[in-house]
Symmetry: C2
Subunit: 224 residues, 2 copies
DNA sequence: CTTAAATAATAGTAATACTATAATAAAATA
DNA sequence: TATTTTATTATAGTATTACTATTATTTAAG
């Protein structure tokens, strides 16, 4: 099952499959550590290479540039979420319950992990929250979009959209609501930590603040 | 009135007030053009200096680095929005109507401009949409937050939050909803242009798509 | 066992993000 | 008015970044 997920990552994202060699796996694993430590702006292939005891040129054989590596990491994440959807929504009939489970998966970042993964999951989540939007907020979105690099994100959005429609077939903005929910998970989590005045986090003692907020939002919105 | 707005920009953001000299004003005006043209990542002080016929060192006398310049531009924008709120919400009594007007101001980017400004307004809006989140998605958010550089954003959020509470005093997440609306304006506008599958833009022939979506969202949510 | 192909290491370059110092202009004071 | 002081810009530099080209080494194939 581990392998299945990894094979889904779009081959446009890399020059050489990082899963095909030991050094490739190290590149991905260590880059997750480093991007989390330094932030994407201060992360460089030089620093990564030193960290894993190789050279920049070697890293460049795997990824064209650090933006592609970030895309690779996020594609992996979205594929992982898709897998969680698959196994965790399977048993649920009620679409309302399904949507709550979706929010749970998206916000309850840790702990719902399956089996073992060879990197720090909490660091991955931090990258998704802090650096995720940098995958698409670039000058060449249009071009890279044609390479299908945002496909897993769109598929997640499509799935959530279908759940929304099955709750309320009259609702006019299912895709926008789906992408708003996904983005809200990220920026509300970020804000609650770093810019809490942009949230009501301090008034709620819940550690599942973002989950509660969005659960309330969808239930009011789709009236249930 | 013009001056009033400009004086509100936090002096922590610059080394020397760009409004105090001709070259300072050129730096701000041309940087708006260039950031829009190149994207923030490819924008450099060197390119800016060449464009306005000066040197990098001169630009560095005004702004510590390009991130500070971006913050300056966004602070200017948020102060401008605050001013629009002030004059355009004044006559409205009904808080529901007020909230719709807020969404109108936030989404109907152009045309509600007052008087003249000495730069391209549509380029400013593009920067707000595409680069705005890069002001806070940085390693040192915590530190720069202490310098009050996000104050105008928080004030806008606070104002919207108060409107929300006056519509529904029982609503538990007014600040989160406010910041979600602001962020949604930006990413939904971005998605509708560059990643339309993340929206329902194609199904609606409205050029005010994001406005309609969010108006519908708040009216369902706060039941009116 | 040899040759070819794949991979990594070494050594570069152009651009970026600054900084230090020198030159010039403007302002303030004698 | 002359002369300091100060403010501002220009010149020239450095370290780092983002790559690339070439060479060396390993692995695989015939």
């Amino acid at each position: 099952m581990d392998l299945l997920l990894q094979f889904r990552v779009n081959s446009n994202l890399f020059l050489r499959d990082p899963e095909s060699s030991v050094i490739g796996k190290q590149i991905v694993r260590k880059s997750i550590d480093l991007i989390d430590d330094l932030g994407f702006e201060h992360f460089t292939f030089k620093k990564l290479a030193i960290e894993i005891g190789t050279t920049e040129a070697t890293v460049y054989r795997y990824f064209e540039n650090k933006h592609r590596l970030l895309l690779y990491i996020l594609n992996w994440y979205w594929s992982y979420v898709e897998y969680l959807f698959l196994i965790q929504l399977r048993g649920i009939q009620d679409p309302k319950e399904k949507l709550v489970k979706v929010l749970d998966i998206l916000t309850n970042h840790l702990s719902n992990g399956f089996g073992e993964v060879d990197f720090d999951q909490s660091k991955l989540i931090q990258i998704v929250i802090k650096e995720g939007s940098k995958t698409y907020l670039v000058k060449d979105v249009k071009e890279i979009n044609q390479e299908e690099v945002f496909k897993p994100y769109k598929e997640i959005c499509e799935q959530i959209s279908q759940i929304i429609v099955s709750i309320d077939s009259q609702y006019l903005y299912p895709h926008s609501l789906a992408s708003t929910l996904i983005e809200a998970v990220h920026h509300q989590t970020f804000f609650s930590i770093y810019l809490p005045k942009l949230t009501d986090y301090s008034k709620h003692n819940s550690k599942n603040y973002v989950f509660e907020y969005l659960k309330n939002l969808v239930s009011s919105l789709l009236n249930y």
